[in-house]
Symmetry: C2
Subunit: 222 residues, 2 copies
DNA sequence: ATTACTATGGACAAGATTGTCGATAGCATC
DNA sequence: GATGCTATCGACAATCTTGTCCATAGTAAT
């Protein structure tokens, strides 16, 4: 009975790569990096252990060893991605402190870049579509507070209600997130050209529209 | 050899439901309906033959019989969904012919409703994220043309370049599509309330912003 | 009734995917 | 060098998913 399995190395084996042993933390980070790329590309439901493992340079049981299950890996990579998105957006926004048009322009460009680079916009939409709660959006509330405080202290529609500022922020957020995913398609579709320059011009135009509104904002009808 | 398999009915079988035979066109439609629901919910990559078959009330070989392969089923359901989205948006837009603010308001509300009902906004974003070409957006070009023609004929920024009108349309499109998916999340996040009434108020605000811009549109700096 | 056509589903096959188990290999410490 | 810890991986198992094959069951025409 059964001691048949002999795991001795086959001498004709094709030159096994020597087993590389990382520190556990490093291995986890490498695996999370690979999983994050899959998250951007295919969403959380598109994460496959085999692919993640291959991209991280390990075997798939190693991934399970470090994360316990696919589900826990997905949770971990989503949590890290949301944290990264939050950091990225905060630093992109807080670079513009004063309320001048060029600062608004810089902020919008920085946010658009943050959403584009690293596929943060894609991740936000993947997660929203897949039904995951998106806690990173909580940062928007602080953005609204900061923007409204500066607005009241300045002469730019100081009488406008907080709701108006919130809506300006929401409009910018929705536009930039959507633009990061279907910007090129839509832009080239209406004859604006789908390249980065066209999107930059659109952001400049958006900045002027929002800036003008911040000026005008007389508390109009409901 | 091998004629062993005898498919004779087991007399103890649990009350087989009588086999129901649809017309081929009806069966295809039923299956496409089920697949379309899966498309809205999980995207094209989330379509499973078993689930679609069960939801359509057939077995999965029947689905393959009518569509040949999963890939062809996915192509068919995407094509039908894009066609439906196109029709839905066209009828929502062409209801507003003249250029008055209440017409713009009605148009924006109708488009938002079309994107929300039936999950058209979700489908657009699923397909964009999954990398499928979205031909339905081609309708935007005609929207731009129509809007710009009306604009030139009226007194609303008649001197504005076509680019400006195109950007207004793009801004509305991006905002409404994004709003259909992550509207509730974002709105409640900034304290505007995530219910339908809040989103309706936002659309009213958006209408005024766009309308004001259409007035102001002096051809400003780049 | 008989025949022809085809929509339908049960059983099976092949591959993909997640998860388990045990052996091995790298590294630190003694 | 010997020992202990554990990161790593090969092999296997269980389940899911797609696709094939074929017998069966409706339906219409003869």
């Amino acid at each position: 009975m059964a001691r048949a399995r002999k795991v001795r190395r086959d001498p004709a084996a094709p030159a096994k790569a020597p087993r590389r042993r990382r520190d556990a933390a490093v291995a986890r980070a490498d695996i999370l990096d690979a999983a994050a790329r899959r998250l951007v590309l295919s969403g959380s439901s598109g994460i496959r252990l085999q692919e993640v493992a291959a991209e991280a340079g390990v075997s798939h049981p190693t991934v399970l060893h470090h994360f316990g299950s696919r589900e826990l890996l997905v949770e971990a990579v989503i949590a890290r991605a949301l944290e990264g998105i939050h950091q990225s957006l905060v630093s992109a926004i807080q670079a513009a402190s004063a309320l001048e048009e060029r600062h608004l322009q810089a902020m919008i460009d920085a946010v658009a870049d943050a959403l584009g680079r690293g596929g943060h916009g894609r991740v936000i939409l993947w997660l929203a579509l897949e039904g995951h709660p998106i806690s990173a959006g909580a940062g928007l509330s602080s953005v609204v507070e900061a923007a409204h405080a500066v607005r009241k202290a300045s002469c730019k529609g100081a009488a406008a209600p907080r709701e108006d500022t919130a809506r300006v922020v929401v409009l910018a957020a929705l536009t930039l997130v959507a633009s990061s995913v279907l910007g090129p398609t839509i832009f080239s579709n209406v004859g604006l050209g789908g390249d980065e320059a066209a999107m930059a011009r659109f952001r400049g135009w958006l900045t002027r529209v929002l800036w003008t509104h911040l000026d005008d904002a007389a508390p109009a009808a409901p």
